[in-house]
């Protein structure tokens, strides 16, 4: 179980994942050797699942980002599995979440422009299986995206 020192380290790490370990140790108030040991343990036990690079899709020419929300026809017991397997085949899908609520599933989809979006929507999204209803939220701007926890 992560203790309070681990929580403090994680809080500083999540607030500034770019910071070198020496800086992180200083901010969290632990010796560098102890920080290294604790980070190793947090990774081994899966508390830190991954440290990934973010990709700025706009810089790669993907100007359009859409949040698609689906309600599935749950009369088929394999509806979720088959929908998700089909969604994984669409390269422009960057996130898949499942929910308890009025929405069953959500996809984040990126496209180069509106014409490209229209093509993905017609050819790849409308053909996904077991959909009973869907709606789209088009991203205007991201105001906050921190991944931080109120530790």
């Amino acid at each position: 179980m992560p203790d309070r020192t681990d929580h403090r380290i994680l809080r500083h790490l999540m607030a500034d994942p770019q910071a070198p370990n020496a800086v992180l140790a200083q901010r969290a108030g632990v010796a560098p050797a102890s920080l290294w040991r604790r980070l190793e343990k947090l990774r081994e036990t899966g508390v830190i699942a991954a440290i990934q690079n973010r990709i700025d899709w706009r810089k790669l020419g993907y100007e359009v980002q859409v949040s698609l929300r689906f309600t599935l026809d749950k009369t088929s017991p394999r509806a979720f599995d088959e929908f998700m397997a089909a969604a994984r085949e669409v390269p422009e899908v960057t996130e898949i979440q499942t929910f308890l609520g009025s929405v069953d599933l959500r996809l984040s989809v990126i496209a180069r422009d509106m014409a490209h979006w229209q093509q993905i929507y017609r050819d790849r999204i409308l053909t996904l299986p077991h959909v009973s209803d869907s709606d789209a939220l088009m991203l205007v701007s991201t105001i906050k995206d921190s991944g931080e926890l109120a530790l």
């Binding site: 179980m1 992560p2 929580h7 994680l10 790490l13 999540m14 994942p17 770019q18 036990t45 899966g46 508390v47 830190i48 699942a49 991954a50 440290i51 990934q52 690079n53 973010r54 990709i55 700025d56 899709w57 810089k59 790669l60 020419g61 993907y62 949040s67 998700m84 994984r88 390269p91 422009e92 899908v93 960057t94 996130e95 898949i96 979440q97 499942t98 929910f99 308890l100 609520g101 009025s102 929405v103 959500r106 990126i110 709606d135 789209a136 939220l137 088009m138 991203l139 205007v140 701007s141 991201t142 105001i143 906050k144 995206d145 921190s146 991944g147 931080e148 926890l149 109120a150 530790l151």
Partner: protein, 154 residues
């Protein structure tokens, strides 16, 4: 695609999965020497395509068992109301993501809470009291999967 070749895309694919890989390891994976891999990574970083790091933690292991996605519709719209709402909502520590969207809602939020009653407290005391907030829809997340995106065949 901004002058990127298949090797650049392969590097992006590796780093978007694990940012802690060294230039030497990445070089070996894509068939380049360490210096050549390092130069490409530097170019991808300088151009802003590699846009910083993200730490993915096991929220449940840290006592945050509940993630909720909220759709929020503002009751009144106008530039001032958007700014007031955005300033107030970004200050809530449990709110991880705030996106301004077009569609059935005006904003989508991602919230992490310790449990359902903690979420209820955040919803009542912090979200419902936001300036201009109208209709709110909540969906509790059950699972999440991040995909590599269009970076070529994996």
């Amino acid at each position: 695609m901004s002058g990127l070749d298949a090797t650049d895309l392969a590097i992006l694919r590796i780093l978007s999965d694990d940012a802690t890989r060294s230039a030497a390891e990445i070089g070996r994976a894509v068939g380049l020497g360490q210096p050549a891999a390092w130069r490409r990574i530097k170019r991808l970083t300088d151009s802003g395509i590699l846009a910083g790091r993200r730490v993915i933690v096991d929220n449940a292991a840290l006592g945050f068992g509940v993630t909720v996605f909220l759709g929020i519709r503002l009751a009144a719209k106008g530039r001032t109301s958007l700014e007031d709402f955005e300033r107030a909502v970004t200050a809530i520590p449990e709110v991880q993501t705030v996106q301004h969207v077009l569609g059935q809602f005006d904003y989508r939020l991602r919230i992490t809470a310790r449990d359902i009653s903690d979420f209820e407290r955040i919803l009542r005391r912090r979200i419902m009291t936001l300036p201009g907030v109208g209709q709110v829809e909540a969906n509790v997340m059950l699972s999440e999967e991040r995909r590599p995106g269009p970076l070529g065949a994996s």
